[in-house]
């Protein structure tokens, strides 16, 4: 609908900005909420724009018809006088559909296409252009003046148009209250609470309320290399992210979100059993064909613009381990496993036993030749290990001897073929000599102890060969067969922080962690990648996995600090 980021001219926008070019803008989220406040300060006054998606829960809202989707924007001049400019230019389906805007009198402006409809209800005076596809307006406000904009979207259904004025203020109050209440449950206590809570809030915004699915990022085709071709669509759910995403929610006290996510995982993957796709859409759909949008110029000229994702058809064996580990952790926290779930998990275990010797595309979805990626073998080992653990707990029945034999074979393969005796480190793929950042998960997922010399040496080698200015690249440049130029991977950098903290290098871990926090934008959000030279954000934004990494690293640092304090405390205080 609004894709001006991908094409300033053709992409749609809904902007409320200062008409005066000299005005400076600052942004913040109001407290621990997802209500955004932008303040423009100009020579003659100050303007505040408050953006939020209403959450109307609790007493007083039961009998109120709520919009299917609503974005409210409240514009207020707080000081002096200020001229603001409004542009509302919806361009549906990445500007591939011509949609006309129609005046609906006191009900606002409607833009309908197919069975979708946008309604912009406002008390500001706007004018429709000759093509009837853009609304524009300028408004001069003096201190105390307010204008309201309620943008609703509906598909398949009759639109609901919420009122403005005091009614919109009440929606804001309800939304602020809901978020504050939600964040109050966060169990993390430590010096990085603000960043951890902001990460949780970002993850919550990336959760599809109706299914519990968490998307990798809400954007498509923001480049990993400015001007380059690494432009992918991340508006889907990757199974690979499952285990860490679940633990990010569950570890901080958000069992309901974690459980909903597991519920979606078990539901969505049933469609493709016993095979798993790499990614699914938020409804559990499996068809996400990739296409290039040649009519869009791309973010800062980065073409092609792609939507859909071809990675969905790749074989990535690591998805089995990620999903089974997430379900394992959920079950051990008291989650219910239905008989059908148990059967499904066992079938996945059988599949892993039959296929782990195959080559695959691996965690980084390399589009070239398939390899025997060590990380994929690790995740196959994790899958069988978790199933055996669940069987020991009496949560499901598995062919124990077969699974144990295959787990042992996997471990031997990793320790021999996935280990370079000469360099004393694990390797990215069997019988190869390179390292990649996914190897850091060997200890995070419990295959080997972080303090094991094999692992510490691997960690140092990754830092030496893939590190740059405190950040970690996921693999060496060009390994994916595409032109070099992508940024360092934010979550890999957080994995390194975790390792440093566990290895007892607390000061360095903290220094790197704080450096990574500095890569966040003005409101604390992180992209998928960052340029190690200038710290600029690269790739889709904000990235759920980066925030999952932040949460894990903050929790690990705090745990290690606690253990150190306990060790250092006099015996009688322990």
């Amino acid at each position: 609908m609004f894709s001006a980021l991908l094409d300033q001219q053709k992409g749609g926008r809904f902007s409320i900005t200062a008409a005066e070019p000299a005005a400076a803008a600052t942004r913040r989220y109001i407290g621990d909420t997802n209500v955004l406040e932008t303040t423009y300060r100009g020579p003659a006054g100050t303007l505040r724009v408050t953006d939020f998606m209403p959450v109307l829960a609790g007493p007083g809202w039961e009998d109120t018809l709520q919009a299917q989707r609503e974005l409210v924007r409240i514009v207020e001049c707080t000081e002096g006088e200020f001229e603001a400019e409004v542009v509302f230019a919806p361009r549906p389906d990445f500007a591939r559909i011509d949609a006309r805007i129609r005046n609906r009198g006191a009900l606002g402006w409607a833009c309908a296409f197919s069975n979708h409809q946008l309604v912009l209800h406002t008390d500001a005076r706007l004018a429709l252009n000759d093509d009837a596809d853009t609304l524009c307006g300028r408004m001069r406000l003096t201190a105390g003046d307010r204008r309201y904009f309620s943008l609703t979207y509906v598909q398949h259904d009759i639109a609901t148009i919420p009122p403005l004025g005091e009614a919109a203020d009440r929606r804001l109050e309800s939304t602020l209250r809901w978020w504050e209440e939600w964040t109050r449950h966060c169990t993390y206590e430590g010096p990085y609470r603000d960043s951890v809570v902001r990460s949780l809030l970002a993850l919550k915004l990336m959760t599809f309320q109706l299914s519990g699915a968490v998307v990798a990022a809400p954007t498509a085709s923001l480049p990993e290399d400015i001007g380059g071709i690494r432009n992918w669509d991340y508006r889907y759910c990757w199974l690979r992210d499952a285990a860490l995403t679940f633990s990010a929610f569950a570890d901080l006290g958000y069992a309901a979100e974690g459980d909903a996510f597991i519920g979606w995982l078990l539901h969505a993957t049933r469609m493709t059993l016993p095979e798993l796709q790499v990614l699914y859409d938020v409804y559990g759909g499996v068809r996400v064909p990739e296409e290039e949008l040649d009519h869009l110029e791309g973010y800062r000229g980065s073409r092609p613009v792609r939507i859909g994702n071809e990675a969905c058809s790749q074989l990535q064996l690591d998805t089995y381990g990620a999903l089974i580990l997430a379900v394992h952790n959920y079950a051990l926290r008291g989650g219910t496993l239905e008989a059908a779930d148990a059967r499904m998990l066992r079938r996945m275990g059988d599949y892993v036993c039959r296929h782990w010797r195959n080559a695959d595309k691996g965690i980084w979805e390399l589009r070239g030749e398939a390899r025997h990626n060590t990380h994929s073998k690790l995740m196959c080992w994790v899958a069988l290990d978790c199933l055996l653990s669940l069987a020991e707990e009496g949560r499901l029945r598995v062919p124990r001897q077969r699974f144990e034999a295959q787990r042992k074979a996997l471990a031997e393969a990793i320790e021999t073929q996935g280990f370079d005796e000469e360099k004393g480190t694990y390797t990215g793929a069997f019988d190869m000599d390179y390292v990649e950042a996914g190897l850091l998960l060997l200890s995070i997922y419990g295959f080997v102890d972080t303090l094991n010399p094999r692992m510490t040496e691997t960690c140092y080698r990754i830092d030496r060969e893939l590190g740059a200015n405190g950040l970690i690249y996921r693999h060496e440049q060009g390994k994916d067969g595409l032109p070099p130029g992508e940024g360092a991977f934010v979550i890999c950098s957080f994995w390194m922080v975790e390792h440093l903290a566990v290895m007892g290098e607390e000061a360095q871990a903290v220094e790197r962690f704080e450096h990574l926090l500095g890569l966040a934008n003005d409101v604390g959000l992180l992209a998928e990648e960052a340029d190690p030279e200038d710290g600029s954000a690269l790739g889709n934004f904000p990235q759920a996995y980066s925030h999952v990494g932040l949460i894990r690293a903050a929790v690990t640092i705090e745990e290690m600090r606690k253990r150190r304090r306990e060790r250092e405390a006099p015996l009688d205080e322990r």
Partner: protein
């Protein structure tokens, strides 16, 4: 005479009224699901009683089924009075019914329905639903066609079955 006839035929009217209502509902709700229109008559009916979506959908559906039965009696009365119990006569009545709904009932609904807003006063605390507009066009330009199709089918089923009952 008509009332007496309806009373003697009530079992057939109830049975085939139910079948015709189910068929019409399938067409109308199917059109909504397929993206041909955003109109949902059961939802509009239900929101006259409650603002809770789930309850409105259930209440509206029940009211809609009840309405389907009542109209089955009315269709029977008209056809019996005209002395033509045939599928095409049922379809004609269905078409007139749809037209009346589209050009007379839907446009005035905002002034009778407690939760539908109108274009003069805008939405309020309670009146928040988008009004249907002339022929329900606010809910999509195919709305008149899907509404007509549903009612033609409804009438044709009743005309066919009433004719068979009379013949048998």
């Amino acid at each position: 005479m008509i009332i007496e006839q309806i009373t003697t035929q009530w079992e057939h009217i109830a049975l085939w009224g139910l079948v015709a209502t189910v068929a019409m509902t399938a067409v109308l709700q199917g059109s909504q699901s397929m993206g041909l229109t955003r109109l949902s008559l059961p939802f509009l009916l239900g929101t006259a009683f409650t603002g809770v979506r789930s309850r409105a959908s259930v209440a509206g559906f029940l009211a809609y089924m009840l309405g389907g039965w009542l109209f089955a009696g009315l269709y029977y009365a008209i056809m019996f009075n005209l002395g033509i119990l045939a599928w095409w006569m049922g379809a004609v009545i269905g078409g007139v019914h749809a037209l009346f709904l589209l050009v007379a009932v839907l446009p005035v609904l905002p002034y009778a329905h407690p939760r539908i807003a109108n274009e003069y006063e805008g939405p309020g605390q309670m009146r928040r639903l988008e009004p249907p507009g002339f022929m329900g066009l606010n809910y999509g330009h195919r709305t008149p066609l899907t509404t007509l199709a549903g009612h033609l089918l409804y009438g044709a089923i009743l005309g066919t079955t009433y004719g068979l009952v009379q013949a048998g």
